[in-house]
């Protein structure tokens, strides 16, 4: 591999890994509180389309970003109303949210297809730009969201593992009944985790439309929501491992683009399969030890507090 190829893949891995990481962190929060949100794909789409529409109308990408985060939070609030308040089936509710996201994003985005927007500004610290090889590549020329991705991952990890709130969320995810018995309000904690997670999901979608592509197109997330769900499992519900996973999955995507641009003989589709197969292999590797790192109450509905 040549140096430009390596740098191209690295830069691409970080760029496409950014939205994956935000989405994965959001889903990790929700799943730690015991709730699987298969509707993440819809949340990403709504974030991307609302973010793009608001930016196109106001001309301000920061407003777009804020609107996307708000949309994500609200969408997960609706999901929470279904699965926490109404105690509906999580998988079916998630798929319903996915279809909802397909429709809402198409409706919101339709008037703005083809609009030209100024995306989130990018910059590179001068001393990094002075490094050899770097100046000629897109490496380190990132927007704020990419620069903040790692700190946000640390923040989510700190929230989950170093704060009382995080302990409560994890307790609810393991056993809502036990958390309830110890004086916590499982429904409230799940709503908080879902709301925060939804905002991260909205941001993940906005990064796609406001930085990566600068366009809106229906279904533009192309399954990234589901990749993120796979990544949560891949990273064993740990926000820090999610960083590695997002870079790895983003790298697979970037490598495929780079090889394609260089006319490689390896089919891009074979490379595209890798993240999914890799996740399956990782699951297989753990399979022997029955003890998964999954929250014990994941996907179960808690009926106890009524």
């Amino acid at each position: 591999m040549t140096t430009p190829l390596v740098l191209g893949v690295l830069a691409g891995a970080v760029l496409s890994g950014t939205s994956l990481l935000y989405a994965t962190l959001g889903e990790t929060l929700a799943e730690r509180s015991g709730i699987v949100n298969l509707g993440l794909e819809g949340v990403l789409l709504m974030g991307a389309s609302v973010g793009f529409a608001v930016t196109a109308v106001t001309g301000n990408p920061w407003l777009g970003l804020a609107a996307a985060a708000l949309t994500g939070g609200l969408a997960n609030g609706l999901f929470g109303w279904l699965v926490v308040t109404r105690k509906a089936n999580q998988l079916a509710s998630g798929l319903a949210m996915m279809f909802f996201g397909f429709g809402v994003s198409a409706l919101v985005g339709a008037p703005h297809v083809g609009a030209v927007i100024t995306g989130l500004p990018k910059w590179r610290p001068a001393w990094l730009g002075a490094l050899p090889w770097v100046s000629a590549s897109t490496l380190f020329n990132y927007d704020l969201l990419t620069w903040l991705a790692l700190p946000v991952a640390l923040l989510v990890w700190w929230l989950l593992f170093k704060t009382r709130w995080g302990l409560g969320v994890r307790a609810v995810g393991e056993s809502p009944a036990a958390a309830f018995a110890s004086g916590r309000n499982p429904a409230l904690m799940q709503f908080q985790a879902l709301g925060l997670g939804g905002m991260l999901g909205g941001v993940a979608g906005a990064h796609l439309s406001l930085s990566l592509t600068l366009t809106w197109a229906e279904y533009m997330t192309a399954g990234r929501g589901f990749i993120a769900i796979a990544l949560v499992i891949f990273s064993k519900w740990n926000p820090l491992r999610a960083v590695v996973g997002a870079l790895l999955f983003g790298g697979a995507e970037a490598l495929q683009l780079q090889l394609q641009a260089r006319g490689s003989l390896i089919s891009p589709f074979i490379l595209e399969m890798m993240p999914y197969l890799l996740t399956l292999l990782v699951l297989l590797a753990w399979g022997g030890s029955r003890r998964l790192a999954a929250p014990a109450g994941l996907g179960r509905t808690f009926f106890g507090s009524d």
Binding site: L91, G103, F226, E272
Partner: protein, 340 residues
């Protein structure tokens, strides 16, 4: 159906209708906010659906949904959650295509059963992978089927961009057209194809299997308590693999039907989410055969409304997914389900 069985059936039908009306009202409100005319959209949809062509298109749309719903309902009797209908559908279409392209000169009476069998086999083998992993207690089938959904369309893409690429199809690659003998027969000058009969037969077979046979009883025993069933001497592992494979085969048939009955060749985007829609249909119907029939028809009407929105209101087709979601939200909010 006896007098006694009819009353709850009617009440259920009434409830379903009320849900549909409430969902339509919410969707109409959203269209109003978006500055569109929901009444005209509804009138246009009704008008187009009551024509012979419009009604026949409902049956065309319903065909894959019936099969992907059975693909979910059957394994769910064993307590298995199959969210992989989408991938199984693609693999069915893929293997059926292989059959049609490998034996282009075979006569119709050989080729049609062959592609149908290969369509079934494609989906069945694809679903057997998570089945085996689950039976060996290695990987949860929900996660495995979900992941494989994304691999299958890539195998299709690889094939139609590579070995099966039809000459001259550079912008939107697709496979060469199937030989005539591999095409499912269409009825009455419409696009309704033999896959509909296959789907209805599959639904009937599903009903007989789960309600009328000893296997169905054993399946329910496993779904209720796998460990107890094992102790009773039921070969649980065999049932788990076979159940998922049978279900996957149904989704594979749906893919074969779309390829051989509607498109006439293998394409990307063969399925606009039929696998996921099938999951929701099976779930809404609680796995009951009549419910699946009703729900599949309802979902076909909803997607037909999407066509109308696109043509007469200038809205993207996917906007109709909001209506779909409204139906689901109402049902979900009214029925606490938990995760089975």
């Amino acid at each position: 159906m006896s007098e006694l069985a009819l009353r709850p059936f009617l009440r259920q039908a009434l409830r379903h209708t009320l849900v549909a009306v409430a969902a339509l009202a919410m969707f109409a409100a959203i269209l109003l906010v978006a500055g569109k005319d929901p009444l005209r959209a509804a009138a246009d949809t009704c008008r187009s659906m009551t024509t012979v062509y419009g009604f026949s298109e409902l049956l065309v749309r319903m065909t894959p949904l019936l099969l992907t719903a059975v693909a979910v309902a059957l394994p769910s009797r064993l307590g298995l959650i199959n969210v992989g209908g989408e991938g199984q559908l693609y693999m069915g279409a893929w293997l059926a295509t292989a059959g049609a392209l490998w034996f282009p000169a075979a006569p119709r009476w050989v080729l049609l059963p062959l592609v149908a069998a290969m369509g079934f086999l494609g989906g069945a083998l694809w679903a057997a992978i998570p089945g085996v992993l689950r039976a060996m207690k290695l990987v949860n089938e929900t996660i495995a089927t979900l992941l494989l959904n994304y691999v299958a369309p890539l195998i299709v893409s690889y094939s139609i961009f590579g070995p099966w690429k039809a000459p001259g199809s550079s912008a939107y690659p697709e496979s060469p057209a199937y030989p005539d003998a591999a095409l499912l027969p269409a009825f009455f000058d419409t696009r309704v194809h033999g896959g509909l009969l296959l789907a209805l037969a599959a639904l009937l077979a599903y009903w007989i299997l789960v309600d009328k046979t000893r296997w169905g009883l054993q399946m329910r025993a496993i779904g209720g308590n796998a460990e107890a069933a094992q102790r009773l001497g039921i070969p649980v592992a065999v049932f788990l693999v076979a159940g998922l494979a049978l279900g996957g085969g149904m989704a594979g048939l749906a893919g074969m039907g779309e390829a051989m009955g509607v498109h006439g060749r293998l394409r990307q985007g063969l399925s606009p989410g039929f696998g996921f829609t099938g999951f929701l249909i099976a779930w809404l119907a609680g796995g009951r055969p009549l419910g699946i029939l009703f729900m599949a028809f309802l979902f076909a009407i909803i997607t037909a409304a999407g066509d109308t929105l696109q043509i007469t209101q200038g809205l993207p087709f996917s906007v109709v997914n909001i209506l779909l979601a409204m139906v689901l939200f109402i049902v979900l909010a009214r029925r606490p389900g938990g995760a089975r």
